[in-house]
Amino acid sequence: MLRPGALMRGMWTTFKSMFEKPVTVMYPQVKRPVSKRFKGRHELKRYDNGLEKCIGCALCAAACPADAIFVEASENTDEQRYSPGERYASTYEINFLRCIYCGFCEDACPTEAIVLGDNYELSYTNRSEAIYTREMLLVPVHPSAAPTPQKVAPGTFDRPIPEMEDPD
Amino acid sequence: MSKVKGSRILLRHRDIPKLDKLDVYLEDGGFESFKKAVTKMKPDKVTEIVKDSGLRGRGGAGFPTGVKWSFIDANNWPHYVVANADESEPGTFKDREIMEQNPYQFFEGVMLSAYAIQANDAYIYLRGEFWDLAHELDKKIKKLEKSGYLGKKLFGTDYSLNLYTHLGAGAYICGEETALLESMEGKLGQPRLRPPFPPSFGLFGKPTVVNNVETLANVPLIIEKGAKWYRKFGTERSPGTKVFSLSGNVNKPGNYELPLASTFRELIFKHGGGIPDGHAIKAIMAAGASSSLIVANDEALDTPMDYESVQNVGGMLGSASVIVIDETVDISWLVNKTVHFFKHESCGKCTPCREGVFWMSHLTERIDNGSGSREDIVLLQDVANNIQGKCLCALGDFSTQAVVTGIERFPEDFKAKVSPNQAARIKINE
């Protein structure tokens, strides 16, 4: 049964909204800021001195419910140092077709090396492109720091696992 | 007949000049007991007399010596005697005086015990720092060999005996009998698992009697004068005399041979001349660094020093190395010193001692240097308690005695050193 009052009320809502500010933005020209805890594409972090935080322990791979992460470790030397500890990830791959952005890898990481970032603009034209390698995941080196591998004085880094800034 | 003046059985050289010379010792009736034993007595008889005398081990544990000898496994040969001259306990210096001044009486004791268990080889294990003493003893052993008291077919019997000295490499733990045996075998000086005990599985896996120097030095006179004579000194359960090594805050430190069950007061004030500068006595460590801290009140001072009574005031007689501590001493400093000694001397074989003492040393150091917190005292107490009763040998427990009793009986000394809140600890963390 038609109720003219209800119809009018609906039309009024439509009419009113014509003068409201739209909620959508002109993506990709305009990008909406993501929330603080947004989980986007991963990044492999560096220390201030440019060394990589990742020690290649593969706990992220172990924690990953989608089996999206693959890590191979190698040994640092003072001639070729990637990370402060004894070992670093010589291979680090994330398959973003598998990744479910749960953040378990971030929780598992003992050195806060793997962090889910803000980037959500992921698109691929073939499957192999979805596999991000270590080089793609590593954040750029700060201009004041040296890129890895670095040559350091022997004995500079003698801790198995580097000290953390905020262990908690 | 050997001369005995008063209650001096072991330190007879103080009454008989030049007793360290073989002719003087022989003139005094030396080696008569040994000769008598070898020529006229059955080995068991020697053990029997020592058992009857009630002589207890003077190394610290106080185990009846004759009983130990009788445990020797008669189905496994050869047998060995090892004299434990690894006198390493801080505050203990009695064996050294006996070996330096009255060596032949000690030798005779070793030889008698060797005869009692029918050992043909006897060893004297000396701490590494006694190298000069070992040299002197070697010369004297040579003399005995020349005089026919050592060597093959003694006194025309079938019994042969050789005596050797062996120097350690400077480890406190090698005073523990099984670690001593390991060290003698050329291995790392670490205690063995017990059982089996040395009388069944000792040096090179053979039945071995390990006795302290002082214990053995008692034996010649016991054999000569009999068990009954020996029992005139001391008490029923702790017969005989004992050399008390007195050190610390006393006017006259040194060795004093007194009958067992003499009181602390008698030792410290009558013989030791009291506390210097008129200070008050605060605590007593009755058995060197490995002893608990006894609060030196009247009750404690009047306690007879025998194996049983000292336990009543929360201590152990041990090797009777009485360290006197007066009121000027800060107990937390003393505990720190003691723990550092044990940290240096832990052999590292078992976990609680190796790791626990290392940990305690950090805590006592922190408390002593004033950067500790009240929490650290609680933690220290807890760590010490966790070590107790879990170690392979006694050293682990020894290391905690001063800590536990120090905190329990002198809490003010610790509380005064630490800051009342936990801020100090956080500061260290940064």
């Binding site: 593969a58 070992r87 | 832990s346 590292g348």
Partner: protein, 848 residues
């Protein structure tokens, strides 16, 4: 079977209760073992079921009580309810040193006990670096596991006060030590002292500074070093090979069998996908797999580290055909068709030559193909006697672990630790249990330490020595050469003969120290004669064992292949040669020239060997790690191995290639399923009747219990869930009664200035499957010869210097080592070091 069960008959059984579980164990069983035998856990670090307890780590502290007895009547005191009153020790006791007694009660989970575990763990962790994320042991670490189970989540120890020690100490080329992680449990040092008698590592210093050091040069100089990483309860000892290789949980496990020697150690290959292998699985490490009748839970370093050949980039990956004098790639079709047509032409002039590292299935198909054409199927080996082993071999149920005072073991012409390390270990342990070990060898070997009689003879007299033993037992022997009669009068020989004949059980192992094929044949027959004469055949723990140079040589004999007495002639006169897994051209120039004379040579191989270089057709085969099959050990135990990694593309297993050729020749052979080949073997080879892959895969409970969950107890050795294998019955056990066969004894004569060069065996040689292991390279023997120091002095040769060795007309520069236990006038030439030697030969040494 289990030591616990084994002792049941011999010993009094006692009943004890552990945490409400009542069990019956032999008197004297350690409390931890008793608990473990029914699957209960009393955690330990320093205790290991294969070693004497030391009670160092204090992790196994438990409450132990014994029934109270009245002091005067020694009657048990009873509680009100009639149960015996239990008196508990005031202190916690170490379960690893306390032995079970009647009525004992053990409490492993009281408040006091769990508190003690927590406290001991806390102590251990105060000095531990807590670097589990980067530690190779992380994931299979007893300290990690037990901390998770019993430890506290919070540390009360200030991290900054931790003691720091060296983290990357190379104890040797193979083993790294992390001194921070070490918990001073002494498992490694005790393993080296008690189990393998190589006292090359030990503790130095004391207290918190107690640390492991190596005394040897080169460091950690032992063939057994890898085992210490298995039993290390933390990540203190890790292998150089696996350093940062993978996390343990990422790897798959595949059961396999080691084919480097005749022992047949059970292995597990750990595999994982790698970037460098293009995402394919590769072998990351080799672990021992428990088989208490073969290798217990140990393997030697050769077995552990010489596995890299599978992933070597030198592997052949496509068939090659010789065109215009060059080997060029070809298709399988072309290559196989060519081979087929030439084989057809050759007919009975086809010579098939197979190496002892092939599986039974491969060898069976080769033998079938050869028989189809009427050719000869030859085994490439300098050792004889496999037929005797199949008749007089050790009886079914033989286990070195069961041997004790009632057993005599004769090891003749064999440097056992070099030729078959695990047998050395097991015979050494048998000697410790009282077995009478007799070693007969021209020079000193490590087994001499365990022997009650060491018999020396001149090289070439090995069969004579055994004959001398025989004539000492039964004097009515036919006339022997003078040297035998002289040996028979020797006091030691007489005493040894007495021990052998009087023993209830006797096992004889014969090796290849200084033997040619002819000498080996005489030796094997002499050993067989001795066993027959003394009646030590056809029963468990009795019989003959061949210490073969290859893993499946016994299988080759069983499949009907035989070494040729004159391989040179056989090759020369053939029309076609089909060589598989053998490199005769690499071993001898004589064979190389013989092969050059052969009309048509097909080589089926993994690598481009010297023999393959001479081939007309090269067929690439799958490695044994890429496929399934079975091996037969020297003790005639048939064991299965499983594929660990995927095959290189387009490769076939050896039996498959043979079957392809056979198919083209009109003979149907199984080409895909090795299990089906085994069914055929079972039909054709009587000893293998009724063998199936299912039977080979059977397992039973073994002691000590080893598993993935309780690494704290036995280490990281793998539990055997894929098969213990089947030991075959020798003919003698099936009623065959053999008779003595007296053969002529060969003797070697030398003239003038010459030395006698004799072939001997080194474990870490330069074999084709060994050299691809980079980690082993520094440990491998260099081309060298050994001289008696006095001979060397005469020649003016110094230790370690280079000399010219003139042997069989060819000259080679080699290093010189000394051995003062060897006879004069002899130069020892190790096999597989690139110095061609196949039998004792006169040689000259010239100083450079």
């Amino acid at each position: 079977m289990s030591e616990l069960v084994k002792n049941e008959a011999a010993q009094n059984m006692v009943t004890l209760t552990i945490d409400d579980h009542t069990m019956s164990v032999p008197e004297g069983t350690l409390v931890v073992d008793a608990a473990r035998s029914i699957g209960l856990d009393i955690p330990v670090f320093c205790y290991h079921p294969k070693m004497e307890p030391v009670g160092m780590c204090r992790m196994c502290l438990v409450e132990i009580g014994t029934p109270m007895r009245d002091r005067t009547t020694s009657e048990p005191i009873l509680e009100d309810d009639g149960s015996p009153k239990i008196q508990f020790f005031p202190n916690l006791m170490t379960g690893c040193t306390f032995r079970a007694s009647e009525g004992m009660v053990v409490r492993g989970y009281t408040e006091k006990v769990t508190a003690a575990r927590k406290e001991v763990l806390e102590f251990l962790l105060t000095s531990h670096p807590l670097d589990c994320p980067t530690c190779d042991k992380g994931g299979e670490c007893p300290l990690q596991n037990l901390t998770m189970q019993f430890g506290d989540g919070e540390s009360r120890f200030i991290y900054d006060e931790k003691m720091h020690s060296a983290k990357h100490v190379a104890l040797g080329d193979l083993i790294f030590l992390d001194r921070e992680r070490c918990i001073q449990c002494a498992r490694c040092t005790r393993f080296q002292d008690e189990i393998v008698d190589d006292q090359v590592i030990g503790f130095s210093n004391r207290g918190r500074a107690l640390e492991i050091v190596t005394f040897s040069d080169p460091g950690f100089d032992s063939y057994w070093s890898g085992n210490t990483t298995d039993i290390c309860p933390v990540g203190a000892l890790t292998t150089a090979d696996f350093r940062f290789g993978a996390r343990p949980w990422e790897m798959n496990a595949s059961a396999s069998i080691c084919n480097h020697c005749a022992v047949g150690c059970n292995l597990t290959f750990n595999t994982r996908r790698e970037v460098k292998s293009g995402g394919e699985k590769i072998i990351k490490r080799v672990m021992p797999r428990q088989n208490e009748a073969v290798n217990e839970i140990w393997i030697c370093d050769k077995g552990r580290f010489a596995y890299h050949f599978t992933a070597s980039d030198q592997r052949l990956n496509q068939p090659l055909i010789r065109k215009d004098g060059k080997l060029v790639p070809s298709s399988w079709e072309l290559a196989l068709d060519l081979v087929t047509s030439r084989f057809k032409n050759a007919g009975e002039n086809l010579v098939t030559l197979a190496g002892g590292r092939l599986s039974n299935e491969d060898l069976f198909n080769l033998a079938e193909l050869s028989a189809h054409l009427g050719g000869d199927a030859l085994l490439y080996s300098d050792m004889a006697g496999g037929d005797l082993v199949s008749r007089l071999g050790v009886g079914e149920g033989t286990n070195f672990s069961d041997m004790g005072p009632e057993t005599a073991i004769l090891v003749v012409a064999c440097n056992l630790e070099e030729e078959a390390p695990l047998w050395w270990l097991r015979i050494k342990q048998a000697a410790e249990r009282g077995a009478k070990v007799i070693v007969a060898n021209p020079r000193k070997t490590k087994l001499d330490r365990s022997a009650i009689h060491n018999l020396r003879y001149e090289y070439g007299q090995e069969a004579g020595l055994v004959t001398a033993l025989l004539s000492a037992i039964s004097p009515k022997q036919p006339k022997s050469p003078a040297f035998v009669n002289k040996l028979a009068k020797d006091k030691e020989v007489k005493a040894a003969a007495k021990a052998l004949s009087e023993a209830e059980n006797t096992v004889i192992l014969f090796g290849s120290e200084g033997t040619s094929y002819a000498a080996s044949a005489a030796l094997a027959q002499a050993c067989a004669n001795l066993l027959i004469a003394s009646g030590h055949i056809g029963r468990p723990n009795n019989g003959l064992i061949g210490v073969w140079d290859k893993g499946n040589a016994q299988g080759a004999w069983d499949m009907g292949l035989r070494p040729s007495e004159d391989l040179d002639a056989a090759l020369k006169t053939s029309q076609a040669v089909y060589i598989s897994a053998a490199d005769p051209a690499g071993d001898s120039k004589q064979y190389a020239s013989a092969l050059k004379k052969a009309d048509f040579v097909v080589v089926q191989e993994l690598y481009m060997t010297a023999t393959a270089e001479l081939a007309d057709v090269v067929l690439p085969a799958q490695a044994f790690t890429e496929r399934e099959g079975t091996y037969t050990s020297g003790e005639r135990r048939v064991q299965r191995f499983y594929p660990a990694v995927p095959s290189l593309p387009d490769l076939l297993p050896d039996f498959g290639i043979t079957a392809e050729i056979a198919g083209r020749l009109g003979l149907e052979l199984e080409k895909t399923a090795p299990a089906s080949v085994m069914l055929q073997i079972a039909e054709v080879v009587p000893d293998y009747a009724e063998l199936t892959y299912q039977k080979l895969a059977k397992v039973e409970k073994q002691f000590p219990l080893i598993g993935r969950e309780d690494v704290y107890y036995g280490g990281t050795s793998y539990q055997n869930s894929q098969g213990l294998g089947v030991q075959l019955k020798p003919a003698a056990q099936n009623g065959d009664s053999p008779v003595l066969v007296i053969t002529e004894l060969p003797e070697v004569k030398l003239s003038g200035e010459e030395l006698l060069a004799v072939p001997v065996t080194r474990l870490l040689d330069l074999g084709n499957t060994v050299t691809p292991s980079e980690v082993l390279v520094t440990r491998l023997a260099k081309p060298h010869v050994a001289l008696h120091p006095q001979d060397a002095e005469k020649l003016g040769v110094e230790w370690g210097s280079k000399v010219k060795l003139i042997l069989n007309g060819s000259t080679q520069t080699v290093l010189v080592e000394f051995d003062n236990s060897m006879p004069h006038g002899v130069v020892l030439v190790p096999r597989s070091l690139g110095i061609p030697i196949i039998s004792p030969t006169p040689a000259t040494i010239k100083v450079l």
